[in-house]
């Protein structure tokens, strides 16, 4: 008897474990048939996001509760994952039979790559009524004119600088041309201050530099063509490499930058800016939030200023164009698509967007109506530059499909480390090998 009981217990445990595993990924159950969710249909949606820590964790939790209160038939289960998880595990999740119903989506070429799985829901018909309120922000999540993703914030890359260190070096106003930037670097060095921090270990901060030179050298149409065709053969890209070569030759970066991480420790390039070891860094608008975590200096926000990437005299590109991107969501086809789209609309409502700005210090909300909530003057300057930009070029590694995008980052990082070449950068995206 004893053995039998034990066997039964083991069998029960195994069954439970299997059941738990099979429901672990996501649950999506529409009890009412069909794709339309009537008010009586109960819907359960699993939501994979990267809000693993406060304040984002709390904001997403309260968004889930508030949405459930307004739509009692929809229950959303928030499942936070580390950021890197999405890069490595989404292919596997999208291959499985029960992917999450809603998940973190950065748009661009990576989204186009994911669509090949056949699991991404085309949300166009559900969001057509309101997507216009996001303006040009929504375009980065469209593939072939169809909305497979919805952004909830936007990013813009520019220079974050220490006003106190600029004053110390006798710099009265931020540079607007490359020549001015180089002369400011010289002034800072003369005062024993390393001018520019860069997290070369991570590769993508290196790529920001080359991409900005490309955006200044190439016209908007050339950039767009290059991204859609994964082809950088236009001469202006080689000119960008020349500009970068000349700029690196002025030795503007911190010593040993190839091994410096970009974020998350005082020894990272962001940490160096936060602790006054470098005077500026070319980074996204998440920088102020990042700096707060890397220093004990609570007044760091007031010391920060922002200016856009300077004009390059020879360039064909629009000097107001910015590089940026954003965070967003996709729904999968197993999800109750109307309910999913409704929830994404709720996240883009002015109310939640203002919460994100004031509590989570996200840089720029996807919904411009919430921009009024931005208080940090440096972030305000970044937001203004973003809104008045001729166009926003999505980070190349995101605009391109994943493989050529990361091949480009690696080729640029090799170039920064003195082991690359212009042809290696240009060819990295076109040869599918690029290994």
């Amino acid at each position: 008897m004893r053995t039998n009981r034990m066997a039964a217990a083991v069998a029960a445990a195994v069954t439970l474990a299997i059941a738990a595993c099979s429901s672990g990924g996501s649950t999506s159950s529409t009890t009412a048939a069909g794709s339309s969710t009537s008010s009586t249909a109960t819907v359960a949606l699993s939501w994979w996001n990267n809000g693993t820590a406060q304040p984002l964790l709390g904001i997403w939790q309260s968004a889930v509760s508030a949405f459930h209160a307004a739509h009692p038939n929809v229950t959303i289960r928030s499942v936070p994952h580390q950021n890197e998880f999405f890069k490595t595990n989404m292919p596997i999740a999208l291959k499985s039979n029960n992917p999450p119903d809603i998940y973190q989506q950065w748009g661009g070429g990576a989204e186009a790559t994911q669509i090949q799985s056949g699991k991404l829901a085309n949300l166009t018909q559900y969001v057509s009524g309101w997507i216009g309120t996001l303006g040009k922000a929504a375009a980065g999540w469209q593939v072939n004119g169809q909305q497979y993703g919805i952004p909830y914030d936007q990013h813009v890359v520019g220079f974050w600088y220490r006003k106190d260190l600029f004053v110390k070096a006798g710099i009265t106003s931020p540079p607007t041309t490359l020549a001015e930037l180089e002369s400011d670097d010289a002034k800072l060095k003369a005062h024993g201050i390393a001018p520019i921090g860069i997290g070369g270990q991570a590769q993508w901060p290196d790529a920001f530099w080359w991409e900005y030179f490309a955006v200044r050298e190439c016209s908007q149409s050339v950039i767009q063509q290059a991204m859609s065709a994964a082809n950088l053969s236009a001469p202006c890209y080689s000119q960008a490499t020349k500009d970068l070569t000349a700029f690196i030759a002025t030795n503007p970066f911190e010593a040993g930058f190839n091994a410096v991480a970009a974020q998350s420790s005082p020894a990272s390039s962001a940490g160096m800016l936060a602790n006054g070891k470098v005077a500026m860094e070319l980074q996204g608008d998440w920088e102020p939030g990042e700096l707060l975590g890397d220093t004990t200096d609570k007044s760091i926000d007031s010391k920060l200023g922002w200016f856009p990437f300077p004009a390059v005299s020879s360039g064909q590109g629009d000097p107001t164009a910015v590089i940026g991107g954003g965070d967003g969501w996709s729904c999968t086809t197993g999800a109750a698509e109307p309910a999913c789209a409704q929830f994404l609309q709720y996240i883009d409502s002015t109310q939640v967007q203002e919460q994100l700005v004031t509590q989570a210090s996200i840089g720029l909300p996807a919904n411009a109506a919430a921009e009024g909530a931005i208080t940090n003057p440096a972030v305000k300057a970044a937001a203004q530059a973003h809104d008045s930009a001729a166009y926003v070029a999505v980070y190349f590694d995101q605009a391109l499909p994943t493989n050529p995008g990361l091949a480009l980052d690696a080729a640029i990082a090799n170039f920064f480390a003195g082991k690359g070449s212009n042809s290696a950068i240009i060819n990295s995206v076109s040869s599918s090998s690029g290994h």
């Binding site: 890069k87 490595t88 292919p91 596997i92 999208l94 291959k95 790559t113 994911q114 090949q116 799985s117 056949g118 070369g200 270990q201 991570a202 590769q203 911190e254 010593a255 040993g256 930058f257 190839n258 091994a259 410096v260 991480a261 420790s265 020894a267 994943t402 493989n403 990361l406 091949a407 690696a410 990082a413 090799n414 920064f416 480390a417 003195g418 082991k419 690359g420 599918s432 090998s433 290994h435």
Partner: protein
Amino acid sequence: MARTRTAAAAAPDIVSGAVAVPPASQRRSLRKRIELTVLLVPPLALFIGFVLVPMIFAIWYSLYNWNGYGPLTDFIGLQNYRGVLTGPVFHQALLHNIIIAVLSVVIQLPISIGLALLLNRRMRGRGALRLAVFTPYVLSQATSAVMWLMLLSHGGPVDALFRSAGLGGLVRFWLASTSLVLYTLFFVITWQFIGFGIVLLLAGLQGIPPELREAAAIDGATPWQVTRQVVLPLLGPTIRVWIFLAVIGSLQLFDIVWIMTLGGPANSSQTMLTYLYFNGLERTQFGYGATISVVLFIISFVFALAYQRYALRRDTSGALTRAVQ
């Protein structure tokens, strides 16, 4: 399995006494079969499920151009293998693995033997010293990597230590220099794993009967001769096993490198596994990544077989060459 079922069915009969008890030899063989089944089935199931099946999948994926999304449709034969085997970055990565393996044997082994011999002597503070040497091995590789990343950052604590000792001229870009980074990583690997080698060798030393040393000493052998002619030959099997583990470990080097350098700068610390991770998972070239894993498997397998055949032949004779009765 058939015999197992028979045993279960036979049990009530034995209790009731209705059937004659089988002869002792038959019972023994039955018991042995049950024992073997119980002991072998779980590991075999794990081995098949988590080693053999994924390996077959990897070989299958390696024949496709596949980014992980959608079905496997783009069959490209051995093109991925050509890509891996002719790729300059893979050559670099392979060379780095070999350099680490050779350095492990040439540098770590003598240090390990020396320290093991020292720590095998009776002396004050032996326990504390053994603990100190072994402690790094207990840390997770991620912890050591993060710690050394901070210590070795430019202008960081290690540089400060050099300067305070008047050796400021020796300070280098430990992790940023493309020519130095691999050796910096080797230092960290040595720091982490030397304790394991020492403990292994200490165990080997414990297995050498003291009478042999005493006999040699009585015959007039100097301490050096005792070590050279008696101890080291008897430590041979342990040393050979250590070399095997060190080389396989070097081929599979990943954690410390990935956390400290991501294989950079400019691939100068890329290993086969960091190359696999970057291309397979980050760049979502699953077919290409699977190919790297198959190539890595073949390299490790060939080395393991050759080493077993030639170096470990005597040590494992009996254990691997004939069935234990």
